[in-house]
């Protein structure tokens, strides 16, 4: 919606500009040059934008092809009889319902934990005195630089000692550290922008730390909280490596690892595989379209690091 408004607004201002230019003594030649330049700019930009979207569109269209038909040679966009049969078929082939349920459980529990733990940490960091705060920020920045593959092995051994291997808890575990130190930093920066007097006032009114977190701090940083919810939901929904490493029994599988079995079942049935990919991808695309702001907020703040 906002995007459309933006476009509208620009067209308006551009229209005004053009009228002004036309009215001016520069005349029609320069106006023509400007619109030619603008046209070629949009041509280039839309071609590049299409490069990023068309492959996904292709895959979606391929998932609507009847299985069993000979695969198309060359480029063909639309299959002749379009069918949703592949989607029904993957639900028959795989216990997709149970995968979906596990994915949703893991994502929801982890998002909730992440929201609480990351915002607590960010709030405490923002309110603690300078030297401590500085050290905690450096810690978080350094933690962001730790590549995950170097933790797989030792975490596996640790998790088997804690007896959470092959349970959904192994997938939720990263939420106990706020999932990513980046989310802690996002909250920290957001809380730093809130005037400290507000918290001091709450303190004088006798509010406990927990109360001023819940009643004063959190309502002030809603966009950041929304960002963290959206980004961490995507993180857990897409997570493939953790379930691959820590899960054994199929009843615990999430969608990401479950879809891998689809590939192992029938590698050449492309419409079926693409249907699986779409089932996994579509919720994320919808989330992105609905909550696009979350990504720009995170990027804008993240660039301060």
């Amino acid at each position: 919606m906002t995007m459309r408004c933006d476009v509208q607004a620009t067209e308006d201002t551009e229209g005004t500009e053009r009228r002004l230019i036309t009215a001016s003594s520069v005349g029609a030649v320069s106006s023509l040059a400007t619109s030619m330049r603008r046209l070629s700019y949009h041509l280039v930009a839309s071609t590049i934008a299409a490069l990023f979207v068309v492959p996904l569109l292709w895959a979606t269209l391929a998932s609507l092809r009847m299985p069993g038909l000979p695969p198309p040679q060359g480029l063909s966009w639309l299959a002749d009889p379009l069918t949703l049969g592949n989607y029904r078929r993957i639900f028959d082939l795989l216990p997709l319902g149970s995968y979906l349920l596990n994915s949703i459980i893991v994502a929801c529990v982890s998002v909730l934990l992440t929201l609480i733990i990351a915002s607590w940490a960010g709030f405490a960091m923002a309110r603690l005195p300078g030297p401590v705060r500085g050290r905690l920020v450096i810690l978080a920045v350094l933690l962001r630089l730790v590549p995950l593959p170097i933790l797989w092995l030792a975490r596996f051994i640790l998790f088997s000692r804690l007896q959470i291997n092959d349970t959904l808890w192994a997938l939720i575990a990263p939420a106990w550290m706020g999932t990513s130190p980046f989310y802690v930093l996002l909250f920290y920066w957001a809380f730093r922008r809130v005037p400290g007097d507000l918290f001091d006032a709450a303190r004088l009114e006798g509010a406990s730390v927990l109360q001023s977190w819940a009643l004063v701090a959190m309502p002030m940083v809603r966009p950041t909280a929304a960002s963290v919810v959206v980004l961490s939901f995507m993180h857990y929904w897409s997570d493939f490596i953790n379930p691959l490493i820590y899960l054994k029994s199929e009843r615990n599988y999430t969608l990401a690892v479950g879809l891998r079995t689809l590939q192992q079942l029938d590698l050449t049935n492309w419409p079926l595989l693409m249907a699986g990919a779409v089932v996994m991808m579509l919720p994320m695309l919808l989330l992105f379209l609905l909550a696009q702001r979350a990504f720009w907020v995170a990027g804008g703040v993240g660039s301060r690091q």
Partner: protein, 290 residues
């Protein structure tokens, strides 16, 4: 009162610090002693000293995987940073570009497994649309993932489009440059290239440094899913990367000590690479020429 307040603030930090301790600090510390033992995940670890670390030097699989990882990152990281910068420059500032920006970000939100499956099909030599497109222009059709010479570049091509995070960071970095600078530069008669070279580049370089470091770490760890699903490390180990070798050694062959030794080498080489990037970036930061 103040002390009590600070103490209760500290309590809010406890879950995060405890989680970090258990999930990051302890595993990091555990890796070193583990690398010096023979351990299959069940019985008791037995001490072997530096044998695993020495063995890696003559382990052909480890050397191949290290070389591939280096090649992959040396190809993907600069390409992704430059592409993200080019896109950010193209789509910066003007209003009404929201749709283009969103389109550029879209591949980044696609989950790794779905993305790998989609590219597996796009790159299929016989039925894939990419070769269909090439045939349309009369270009030769490579075997992509089936050919050891093109498999790794094909993975790089697929990975290139997931540059949304760097794109957004650089976009934010560009929009933080005050417009006045450009106006002053234009008054001084600076052309398009000069404005880029002497205004944009020096001011964006801290962001470029951040993005390059993040891309390095991300590209190594994100090589795992596409390689496992699209090539399985093949053909002939042409796309075997360190994360997958560590995974195979630990969880398929249950040679935890050996895998820990690889992890250790991997960790040290990433630290070195980060320092190299940092040094390189130091050469064209704020201080120079501007």
């Amino acid at each position: 009162m103040n002390r009590r307040y600070h103490f209760s603030l500290f309590l809010l930090l406890v879950p995060y610090l405890l989680g970090t301790l258990v999930l990051v600090v302890v595993p990091l510390l555990l890796t070193l002693p583990l690398a010096l033992t023979e351990y299959n995940g069940l019985g008791r670890p037995s001490w072997v000293g530096l044998a695993h670390l020495q063995g890696l030097l003559s382990d052909p699989l480890f050397l191949t995987a290290s070389g591939n990882t280096l090649y992959y990152t040396a190809l993907l990281v600069p390409l992704r940073v430059l592409a993200a910068l080019a896109l950010a420059l193209l789509l910066n500032r003007r209003r009404g570009l929201g749709l283009y920006r969103a389109a550029v970000y879209v591949p980044t939100v696609v989950p790794g497994v779905a993305y790998a499956l989609i590219w597996l099909w796009l790159l299929n030599p016989l039925y894939g649309p990419l070769n269909g497109l090439l045939a349309l222009f009369g270009l030769p059709a490579p075997a992509w993932l089936a050919d050891p010479a093109t498999a790794l570049p094909a993975l790089v091509l697929a990975g290139l489009f997931q540059l949304g995070e760097s794109f957004v960071v650089l976009l934010a970095g560009l929009s933080a440059i005050p417009n006045d600078y450009y106006q002053v530069a234009a008054l001084d008669g600076a052309g398009r290239w000069q404005r880029f070279r002497y205004v944009t580049l020096p001011l964006i370089s801290p962001w470029l440094l951040l993005v390059a470091m993040r891309e390095l770490i991300a590209s190594v760890q994100n090589s795992f899913t596409p390689a496992l699903l699209m090539t399985g490390g093949g053909p002939y180990y042409a796309t075997l990367f360190l994360p997958q070798l560590i995974y195979n050694t630990a969880f398929d062959q249950l040679r935890f000590g050996q895998a820990a030794a690889m992890t250790l080498v991997h960790m040290v080489s990433i630290i070195i690479a980060l320092l190299v990037i940092y040094r390189l970036a130091g050469g064209w930061g704020y201080d120079d020429e501007v």
